[in-house]
Symmetry: C2
Amino acid sequence: MKNPTSLGFAILGLLHDAPRSGYDLRKVFESTPMGHYSSSPGAIYPALKRLDERGLIEGRIDRGTSRRSRQLYRPTEAGTEVFRRWLARPVGSEDVIWRLDELLLRFAFQSFLEDDRVTRAFLAAFAREIDLYGAELESQREAMPSTTPLHGQLALESGIESYRAYRDWAVRALRRFEDRRS
Amino acid sequence: MKNPTSLGFAILGLLHDAPRSGYDLRKVFESTPMGHYSSSPGAIYPALKRLDERGLIEGRIDRGTSRRSRQLYRPTEAGTEVFRRWLARPVGSEDVIWRLDELLLRFAFQSFLEDDRVTRAFLAAFAREIDLYGAELESQREAMPSTTPLHGQLALESGIESYRAYRDWAVRALRRFEDRRS
DNA sequence: AAAAACATGTAAGCTGTTACATGATTGG
DNA sequence: CCAATCATGTAACAGCTTACATGTTTTT
């Protein structure tokens, strides 16, 4: 059984916050900083169906005041299991290179966990891996022949500085969690 | 006729630098900072085929010393037209929000153009749009209730700081191009 | 009464992933 | 001669986008 996609995990996380319908989820994706995930019905509804088929969520028909049907989804026990394991996954080098968005999503949902050990480990690993990648980009810049057009040099620098910003962020975030422990 | 995807434009740009085979392109994507684009044959070869079918590139069989066949692709006139138009496209707000990677790719290839006016306009618009988006994120942070978990606040801050880094980069890059003009 | 928002979905098409397949050439 | 690398592709599948489809309830 395959793992959900990023969108699947985003949905699973939101359902751990509160039971929601497909339409509710669309609104969250449209109006909040999570908006980097698709809010189109052609993405949300099939994603909900997959999560349901894999037994990670279940839907109940909710008839509030009206007689219009509305599927309210909530996570199953298996879904919570999978969600917890996802939150605590080790941070690898490919994650920071290829799946930075998903890492930040994971971080945002770690407030679901009781204590902060997972988060502290996450941030330490995140800072370490991103530093390694930044160093690699730096050495690529140094290896650039001086004939390289200015555009190429600058494009690489934008990447380097973006990674630096994430590293600094991670270090500061880690301090915030260490303060909180005491 | 639809426009190429990001990968298509990346290929088109590389072919403006030099004629290359599918295999050559794969190596570039594997080994350089452009590596955020897929190097898998299942992506490259179909992308080449599409560019060919749309008349933007053409392949010639190149038999160097050996008798092994090797398709060397180069842009057609129509391909160069499309490429130039892509390089000079105005920078919109959705571009910085949803397609930052493609914007940086466009910037990197702008060295193909004779003079720097397009690049200066690009960087000015880029800085302006990214500032607007950063301000929106900031106001989202301020609108956060104080009950918001630390994780959520910090995740949003990571986004804000990443955008700030890009804005600072754009401002510095613009200065570099203005110096060069004189 | 009409418009907007609620609410859920499907269908076609495109792109990319993973895995497979094939054979030639070169370096040790 | 064997392994690595050169070189080009295909097939099955997953997921997303865009566009369409349908009907209900609330607001103006």
